[in-house]
């Protein structure tokens, strides 16, 4: 055999389970799903705010205090009313979108990348490595998520960077667990065994067989997790351990408004609705993706 033929390894020609994620059918199903599309529409509003926040309303307005117009209900001048310092709530919510989305997306991205790496190591190597990693992750998981994140933020100090770090570290064990089980299902399947028998090198198998098949689960998990992380970030900010005022954040806005919510419910309704809509849109998209990837589950 000449050198050229050896460039493509026989393992590549082993039958590969159809790459469900990049399939045109999948996207077709997704676009037919009305609720998934609704989720996409709502979420794009938030993405719009993320990118064009400064264009919609200047950042200054979110910080500008004016005690004379404090706690005013929604009006033409202030669409969502003003808060306890007279700041425009609409402006604050729009700019808070940046922080929340940033927090959600980055923490999930980082967590999933690191989690996937660890899960792949555990799932593929198996044996002792797997055992140790599983024990480690299970032990960390014994500490309730909130507690872990809280302890980290308490130690390192509040603020965007530390909050992010706390969320990532606390969520890694969860991702490892989910992704590992998905990987194990693939690793134990026949076509991987067949590939191994052909002598396909490990990295080939991981890159070309295992990851594409596990990626469906990962994407669905990621979408829902962004919503979860946004909620936890808001929760931490609510109790004062996250992003501190005067930086706008949905959670801390709720904390500020709590004392006055009887007279001025708008103080707590709008920030809360923002969280709900954001998480809802993400969940709708996540569900849509799941149904699109595996329509059998629907019936």
């Amino acid at each position: 055999m000449n050198g050229r033929q050896l460039d493509r390894h026989p393992g590549e020609f082993v039958y590969k389970k159809r790459n469900a994620f990049l399939n045109r059918d999948t996207w077709g199903r997704f676009y037919k799903n009305k609720s998934a599309l609704l989720g996409l529409c709502i979420f794009s509003v938030f993405i719009f705010c993320l990118i064009f926040a400064d264009v919609i309303v200047p950042y200054g307005k979110a910080l500008e205090q004016n005690l004379r117009i404090r706690m005013q209900p929604p009006s033409a001048a202030h669409w969502f009313g003003t808060d306890i310092y007279g700041r425009d709530i609409f402006a604050r919510i729009v700019h808070a979108t940046r922080y929340s989305l940033f927090m959600g997306i980055v923490s999930v991205a980082a967590g999933i990348i690191i989690g996937s790496a660890i899960a792949a190591l555990a799932g593929y190597r198996g044996g002792r490595t797997d055992g140790i990693i599983v024990w480690l992750m299970d032990t960390i998981l014994c500490i309730p998520f909130m507690l872990l994140a809280l302890a980290m933020v308490a130690s390192l100090g509040s603020g965007l960077r530390n909050l992010l770090l706390a969320l990532v570290v606390a969520s890694i064990p969860i991702y490892v667990r989910v992704i590992r089980s998905s990987i194990l299902t693939v690793v134990e399947s026949d076509f991987v065994e067949a590939a191994r028998c052909c002598g396909t090198p490990d990295r080939f198998i991981i890159l070309k067989h295992i990851l594409p098949n596990a990626i469906g689960t990962i994407i669905v998990q990621a979408t829902t997790s962004v919503g979860t992380m946004i909620t936890w970030a808001a929760a931490l900010s609510y109790i004062g351990m996250g992003i501190q005022p005067p930086i706008p954040e949905w959670g801390s806005m709720l904390a500020e408004g709590k004392a006055y919510m009887m007279k001025s419910p708008h103080l707590v309704i709008f920030p809360g609705m923002a969280i709900v809509l954001c998480v809802l849109s993400l969940n709708l998209m996540g569900d849509g993706l799941r149904d699109a990837l595996d329509p059998r589950l629907k019936d």
């Binding site: 299970d138 032990t139 960390i140 998981l141 014994c142 500490i143 309730p144 998520f145 909130m146 507690l147 872990l148 809280l150 302890a151 980290m152 308490a154 130690s155 390192l156 919503g227 909620t231 808001a234 929760a235 609510y238 109790i239 004062g240 351990m241 959670g251 709720l254 709590k258 919510m261 009887m262 419910p265 707590v268 309704i269 809360g272 969280i275 709900v276 998480v279 809802l280 969940n283 709708l284 569900d287 589950l297």
Partner: protein, 317 residues
Amino acid sequence: MFRYCFRRVLIMIPTMFFVIFIVLGLMNLTPGSPALMILGQDATPEMVEQLNRELGYDQPFFMRYITYVSSLFSGDMGRSYRTKRPVFTEIESRLPTTVKLSVSVIILVVLIAIPIGTFSAVRQYSTFDTVGTMTALFFACIPAFWLGLMLILVFSLKLGLLPSFGTDTWAHFILPAFTQAIPQSARSMRLTRTTVLETIRQDYIRTARAKGQGEFKVILNHALKNALMPIITILGVDFGFILGGTIVVERVFSINGIGLLILDAIQVKDIPLVTGCAIIFAGLYMLVLLMVDVLYAFIDPRVKARYQRKASMGGML
């Protein structure tokens, strides 16, 4: 069976050691020393150093860890930096409240999610199912602490029906419990629905029907009996999130439980108190996980057989 439980409890011990290690480690990431915090800025360096020595803070981390763990064995959790009272006492008075709250949440979730989820699955695509699924989807997205605020707004402030803070009567637990129960029920209901849907597709359900069994009994004795196990397992895992959520809910409703205790303690870097509370939280969670595992082994004969074999083999060695 008993041997299985015993072995599981034994495994909890090294896990707990590691948990303590993590918690202590995290608390020590803070720059600065506790003495400085306690004495304030005016303290002289000598006073700070002396207090640190008294508190054992001059030792390297690992030594402090060992000291702490060994004092745990004699039931000593240290003293709060702030109040100077034993940590154990502080926790003791507040633990029942948090436990009552968490247990109420779980009971509510089981009572709400499982029947609704099962009914939705059995009547798939009916109006009940569609409405139920949409409602669940919506409520699953609501953050518990915001729901708490809304509930307070409506039921407490506007309608004056229920109290919004404190824990004097059992009525005080209603709003806090529902605050967490509603979103969790929504999530569990969706899971129940999916699990039951899968279960009723199994062949043995058809066998049961072929015997002429009535639909209600088929669902109860055949479908639910098999479906409940994964549902309860995940509910056990979710208990961790409920415990974590309790911290925030206790703040929202000013409930004097361990959640509030740990929040206040964290803010003043009261390390012994934080560590003590963290251990209790982790311990509670591990206990629930253990109970779920045991329950699983109890009900699913395949799992029971596996663990009985393991236990008996262990006995022989």
